[in-house]
């Protein structure tokens, strides 16, 4: 009985990890043209819409989107931006997990959350030119091809 009880958290962790469609965050601000691309399906990036691992968030020339993630990371993008949520795993008891995102183009503002606070390697942001190691708190990214 005792060993069964001890195995329970492991089992729960496994079940939580296995559900790939678990919400990663929720859209809190949305302006202008903004969409989520979820496995080829286009969804409106409206306030209240959930964001999942694997989603691509895309804004038009007048668009912006702000997302609060489950670890309380705050992530927002400006106009003409493309952000991919490559991986989001968060254990609310231990604060262990991973948050990997890629800014393909545009601008990004981040206030890191509980994942980055727990472990300096937990959050990574990639751009076409660089990889960012997030050691906490607030930063900005612009990635764009050089102007001719």
């Amino acid at each position: 009985m005792r060993s069964a009880l001890m195995a329970l958290p492991l089992l729960l962790a496994f079940v939580a990890g296995a559900s790939a469609t678990e919400d990663a965050g929720q859209i809190k601000t949305s302006k202008g043209s903004a969409q989520i691309d979820r496995s080829g399906q286009k969804l409106s990036a409206a306030v209240g819409q959930v964001v999942q691992q694997g989603d691509t968030v895309v804004t038009g020339a007048d668009g912006s989107v702000g997302i609060t993630f489950r670890d309380s990371s705050l992530v927002s993008i400006g106009p003409d931006s493309v952000l991919v949520i490559d991986r989001f795993v968060f254990d609310p008891t231990t604060h262990q997990g991973n948050f990997d995102a890629s800014l393909k183009q545009g601008t990004l503002a981040v206030v890191s959350g509980k994942l980055a606070k727990q472990s300096p390697d937990a959050m990574k942001v990639k751009t076409p030119a660089a990889i960012l190691g997030v050691r906490g708190t607030e930063f900005l990214v612009r990635t764009a091809p050089a102007k001719d």
Partner: protein, 197 residues
């Protein structure tokens, strides 16, 4: 061959002179007074940003220039992204009697403040996180902290908050408000954090 060696620096200058990227990375001063750090790495070349407005520019992949940005440049370059930032989460704390899920009486007054915070947010979520002191085993405290969080959730639901907006978790004794040795009873650590975001 000799000519080629002579030409190499010229070719390199031409390549470097022709920028392919217009990337900018800026570390901001933290709103809580603390400035963190950001490591910007491009093909093994690194810059660590660890002071307010420390910045890195990448004009070519594999070269990272350390520069300093400013509040004015940040406003100009990142205005819309900054304006789109979600409101920061706000936390409230309720306290408990030893080894129980009974509220300390003074905590009941907080409920109105929590409602006001929920009312002023778009798509509000309520995250309820239970904590314990270091009396008891880790497994026991994980369960107790979750029970405290669930007790809070049940109270908030009775007060009319939709269940779907609430998530609960237990942190056990991992995140004390006041650090103590093991087995020390500490009322300030027997608490539930209600984060509205």
């Amino acid at each position: 061959m000799r000519k080629l060696v002579w030409l190499a620096p010229v070719a390199l200058t031409i390549l470097v002179g022709c920028a392919t990227r217009n990337d900018l990375y800026v570390l901001l001063p933290g709103k809580n007074g603390k400035t963190g750090a950001l490591v910007v790495e491009s093909q093994g070349k690194k810059q660590t940003l660890d002071t307010p407005y420390a910045a890195a520019r990448i004009k070519n992949v594999g070269s990272v220039d350390g520069v300093t940005s400013s509040e004015a440049e940040v406003k100009q370059e990142f205005g819309p992204a900054l304006a789109a930032q979600p409101q920061r989460p706000v936390s409230f704390y309720l306290y408990f009697q030893l080894d129980t899920d009974e509220f300390a009486p003074e905590s009941k007054a907080l409920v109105n403040q929590i409602f006001a915070e929920i009312a002023r947010r778009p798509a509000p979520e309520i995250v309820i996180i239970g904590h314990t002191d270091r009396v008891g085993t880790m497994q026991y405290n994980d369960a107790l902290s979750l029970r405290r969080a669930e007790r809070c959730r049940d109270e908030l639901i009775k007060l009319g908050i939709p269940k779907v907006r609430i998530t609960v978790s237990g942190r056990g004794s991992r995140e004390p408000e006041v650090p103590t040795e093991d087995r020390v009873p500490e009322p300030r650590n027997r608490r539930v954090e209600i984060s509205v975001r």
